[in-house]
């Protein structure tokens, strides 16, 4: 293993990390927002129906 091999490995690890992190963030963020948005929507609907 030479220095250029280590550099190559480091670059490859970065590519792998990006390829893992981008979809993971999209999916976790999407599932979190789905629950958050629909929970607050339900709560708002409940409050408005009680007010009536």
């Amino acid at each position: 293993m030479r220095l250029q091999d280590m550099t190559l490995l480091a670059k490859k690890i970065v590519v792998g990390l990006v390829a893992t992190a981008v979809p993971l963030l999209i999916l976790l963020g999407g599932m979190h927002l789905t629950r958050k948005a629909l929970t607050s929507k339900s709560a708002t609907e409940q409050v408005s129906s009680q007010a009536k």
Binding site: L9, V22, L27, L33
Partner: protein, 339 residues
């Protein structure tokens, strides 16, 4: 060696489109909940499918049933291939050693790393998220994992073909002059260790999608092994006219032996081989969407890399840690990046 400007532009535009495709299952799930009023996180866990819930922890989802069943399937397929003489005497001692070493490495090296990642790393990286999204209904979980796992593998694979400095990590998978069940796991160990989709799926299992992952990974194992196999299960679909509509759908949806064998061809000159595309693993749909598909319904006459001269099995398994002794090889100490 630099990447072609046109290829770079297509990678960027297709990559941006992929962001939308990754988000699609979650967006559709959101719309379904919005219009139907479903709020699965408010429900108690569904006990009507106990088997699926049994597998909803990380340890069990990637547990022995899935592993052993797929291993058994690969062995049975291998026996069939040998029985029909499908390797045609091209499985030399060096190729045999490479295939067996790669197959064993995937069990000995990769599994402990992924298990460690799941049990030790994920609780640190995603604190408090264990089973946090276990409320995702099974159907949507399958949809999410199908897209997440396979689209990520498509990109990982495509980049190793189109980015010149990544090619040598993937070269081992293409060096054999034959196709067979062993080809699916014939990979350089560095390529396999950093398989992005493994860690992505492990993370999704950790957050609660274990049941769907079990089903998707089992199905994916079968499709990808059969696509590499020398048993042309798809031929009857092309032969009989009545089956042509099914063939049309199948060959665009999943990887078939014809499309994936074309990817392993040693030339593109015959109009059949297409190692510049057909990167899909479970789904071929990604190739259709991104314009990297080539469908001919025919099988290449020869496979591998034209300039391959039998690099030692240890160099193919562990490059760049060990180098090839073959003069001028891409895996040799002073070899070219792409020959």
């Amino acid at each position: 060696m630099k990447m072609d400007a046109e290829v770079r532009e297509r990678i960027i535009s297709n990559g941006l489109a992929s962001v939308l495709i990754y988000a699609l299952p979650v967006a559709l799930m959101f719309l379904t909940f919005y219009f139907t009023g479903q709020r699965p996180w408010q429900q108690t866990p569904n006990t009507s499918v106990p088997l699926l819930h049994y597998y909803q922890s990380f340890e069990q989802a990637l547990g022995p049933l899935n592993n052993y069943a797929l291993t058994l399937f690969v062995f049975v397929l291998g026996i069939l291939e040998f029985s029909f003489g499908l390797y045609e005497g091209r499985w030399t001692k060096n190729e045999r050693s490479t295939d067996i070493a790669c197959f064993a490495a995937s069990y000995i090296v990769i599994r402990p790393i992924v298990t460690y990642f799941g049990l030790r790393v994920l609780p640190i990286v995603l604190p408090g998220l264990k089973n946090h999204f276990a409320w995702v209904p099974f159907f949507w979980g399958v949809f999410i994992i199908c897209v997440a796992d396979d689209l990520t593998q498509y990109w990982y694979h495509r980049l190793h073909h189109q980015v010149p400095w990544l090619w040598r990590f993937h070269r081992t998978h293409h060096s054999a002059a034959y196709m067979g069940m062993a080809m699916a796991s014939r990979q350089n160990v560095i390529y396999t260790i950093f398989f992005s989709q493994i860690y992505l799926t492990a993370a999704l299992v950790y957050v609660g999608l274990g049941g769907p992952a079990l089903i998707v990974l089992g199905l994916k194992g079968i499709i990808t092994t059969l696509a590499h196999s020398s048993i042309p299960w798809d031929k009857p679909f092309y032969k009989y006219k009545v089956l042509h509509p099914i063939a049309w759908v199948l060959e665009r949806l999943i990887s078939t032996p014809a499309t994936h064998h074309a990817h392993h061809a040693d030339t593109t000159d015959d109009g059949i081989g297409y190692y510049k595309g057909n990167f899909g693993n479970m789904f071929f749909l990604w190739d259709v969407i991104f314009g990297t598909a080539h469908i001919s319904r025919e099988y290449p006459k020869s496979y591998g890399i034209t300039h391959y001269q039998g690099d030692q099995w240890y160099a193919q398994l562990l490059w760049p840690i060990f180098k090839s002794k073959v003069e001028g090889s891409e895996l040799a100490a002073n070899g070219p990046m792409v020959k």
